[in-house]
């Protein structure tokens, strides 16, 4: 009996308290939203294939990128790895039978769905056009769209994040198996822990800020409108206090996945395990100190700008450690280029490029020129799409046998990874150049001089779309027709591999022994 065969009714899924089933529920839900956001992206790129605003009008375009940003950030990327793979794996990896609060866990999924309904309602009613940043006073006084409805969706989905984070924190503190000390935990669990801390500390700030924004929009009382004695920059401070840490919510889990996959397919212990763990905590901690780098030309004090710039460079140091350590892990390994490994290496490369261009943006004077241009768009897509989405797919493939009990088609998977990598670079690399040349973001029309680069980008996006549709097809196929997976197809070391594929309802039939150190791989003993 596996957790998948514990009941076949709809109710046994929708009201399950099993963290593994909840992980799957989340995976399905975020896939829907990923494609919703993806369709918006497709329309954006189609519109931008020509300099004139011919495919969609200005207002429609504005609603498209807002929908795209809101959906991709809050309904896809933030829950992506934590709520799917994290839910599935955290208890397994620490040798627990459940999360600490299973009922809160399913509640969190339902809250997510409720939040999603708000977004769908916004879309059906006519959309929202503020940009994912909801800047006041545009959002409070000038927009003629469904701002409050959209904000309510984000507000609600925030509580689902909070509950997931709370659950992970308590689970990791209280439910580790005997012998599973902190420094024997897989780096994925470390990443989940740090992510959860950010989730519980930052998300409430967003919730309250959006509430104040909505109140101001509805009743014209509040603290952001200068006519009432408020300050629009206060909104920006509060928004970025949440949203900068949120970008680490989006990248730390991906780093966790990369660490698991790279060690496994290099057959080598992660290089500098302790440094890697500290770096995760360092990123989470420093991540709270840098939000003002989004406001260098906003009218913020230039001295505050300098402080935030310096702190932004501090947060780049632990990221550097991670990149170097992943590279060093390859040294003297026995590297197999399976699909998950290709995704993971792709993650490292694209994250590095995205991160390095973050250094441009953090350099005050350069940001004066680059802020609000396509350079920024390229920067964050490199990290979020090139980095995190790649890692998410890597993780999906890596743990697919564990989750579904079936193998995916390896060759197709490798091809898809390469298509994605190529399509991605073609889409977003030209945008760096566009940004430097001064093409502002959120433009549906642009100077004809810039058409070539935009056409390249749109062409890349269509290749990227193919890259994403491939796994959708073959993974769905593999779910029912794939080869049966053994318990440990990759000869990997984590506790999740010590149980059957798929695992029984209570995760372990017999409690496995916790190893002395994590990742006891040896490159000289290559599996057959």
């Amino acid at each position: 009996m596996s957790y998948l065969t514990e009941g076949f009714t709809l109710g046994s899924w929708l009201f399950t308290k099993d963290h593994k089933r909840i992980g799957i529920l989340y995976a399905l839900a975020i896939t829907v939203f990923f494609f919703l956001g993806g369709i918006a992206a497709t329309l954006i790129r189609l519109e931008l294939a020509t300099p004139a605003g011919d495919l969609v009008g200005a207002d429609t375009y504005n609603k498209l990128f807002t929908l795209h940003g809101v959906v991709m950030v809050w309904f896809f990327l933030i829950p992506s790895i934590p709520s799917t793979l994290g839910n599935f794996l955290v208890p397994l990896m620490i040798g627990a039978r459940e999360v600490a609060f299973p009922r809160l866990n399913i509640l969190s999924w339902w809250i997510y769905v409720l939040g999603g309904l708000f977004v769908v309602a916004t879309l059906v009613l006519g959309g929202v056009d503020t940009g994912w940043t909801f800047y006041t006073p545009y959002s409070t006084m000038f927009s003629n769209s469904y701002v409050v409805m959209a904000a309510a969706g984000v507000f609600v989905v925030g509580f689902s994040s909070i509950l997931t984070g709370l659950n992970f924190i308590v689970t990791i503190h209280r439910m580790r198996a005997p012998g599973m000390t902190w420094f024997r935990m897989p780096l994925f669990v470390w990443a989940m822990y740090a992510t959860s801390l950010i989730l519980v500390l930052a998300t409430p700030v967003l919730a309250m800020t959006l509430t104040l924004m909505a109140v101001e929009r509805l009743w014209h009382v509040g603290i952001f409108d200068p006519a009432l004695g408020g300050d629009p920059l206060l909104f920006q401070h509060l928004f970025w206090f949440y949203s900068h840490p949120a970008v680490y919510i989006m990248v730390l889990p991906a780093m966790g996945v990369a660490s698991e996959v790279i060690t496994c397919f290099a057959r080598k212990r992660v290089f500098g395990y302790r440094f890697m763990a500290y770096a995760i905590l360092g990123i989470a901690g420093f991540g709270f100190l840098v939000w003002g780098h989004h406001m260098f030309v906003s009218g913020q004090s230039i001295y505050a700008g300098m402080v935030f710039s310096l702190l932004s460079y501090m947060v780049a140091v632990p990221s550097a450690i991670k990149v170097f350590n992943w590279t060093a892990t390859l040294y003297k390994g026995s590297i197999e280029f399976s699909a998950p490994m290709i995704y993971a290496l792709g993650f490292v490369g694209l994250f590095t490029i995205g991160g390095l261009t973050g250094l441009f943006l953090a350099a005050l004077a350069v940001d004066v020129h680059l802020t609000d241009t396509y350079f920024v768009v390229a920067h964050f897509h490199y990290i979020m799409v090139g980095g995190t989405v790649m890692a998410y797919f890597g993780g999906l493939h890596f743990w697919w046998p564990k989750v579904t009990g079936r193998m995916y088609p390896e060759t197709l998977a490798r091809v898809a990874a390469l298509v994605m990598f190529f399509g991605f670079n073609l889409t977003f690399f030209p945008q760096y150049i566009l940004g430097y040349l001064g093409m502002p973001r959120r433009y549906h029309e642009y100077s004809p001089d810039l058409q070539l680069l935009n056409v390249l980008s749109s062409a890349g996006a269509s290749i990227l779309a193919v890259g994403y549709l491939m796994p959708l097809a073959y993974l769905t196929w593999a779910m029912f027709h794939g080869k049966r997976a053994p318990s440990n197809p990759w000869h990997a070391k984590g506790l999740e591999w010590a149980t059957t594929s798929p695992p029984p309802k209570d995760n372990f039939d017999a409690m496995p022994e916790v190893p002395r150190v994590p990742y006891e791989y040896d490159p000289r003993e290559t599996p057959a």
């Binding site: 503190h173 801390l197 401070h237 206090f241 709270f288 100190l289 004090s301 505050a304 935030f308």
Partner: protein, 99 residues
């Protein structure tokens, strides 16, 4: 669970009400800028009493203490760094004045 003796609860309560009386009285005395500081400081002491004795943080594990303090640190960051902006912002209050 450690059982705090009833006496400690009564003493805490008495101290809280005492501080309440004190802060109310002090608010009627002109202390200039200190009034606000005193009000908040006494509030902080009261909060500390509640947290330590009623919420039993005094006898709780370090872990709980860490989580209790974490929020304060995060708030300090929020207040501190946004305050850094407000404290050093040079606004041009009107169009013709020099910055």
């Amino acid at each position: 669970m450690t059982k705090s003796p009833a006496r400690a609860y009564w003493i805490t309560w008495a101290a809280l009400l005492g501080l309440l009386a004190a802060t109310f009285a002090l608010a009627h005395v002109r202390l200039g800028n200190l009034n606000a500081a005193v009000g908040i400081a006494i509030g902080a002491v009261k909060a500390l009493l509640v947290v330590l004795f009623f919420m039993k943080l005094r006898s709780a594990s370090t872990l709980l203490v860490v989580f209790a303090v974490a929020g304060l640190i995060a708030l300090a960051v929020l207040f501190g760094l946004s305050g850094a902006d407000y404290a050093t912002r040079t606004t041009t209050p009107a169009p013709w004045s020099s910055p």
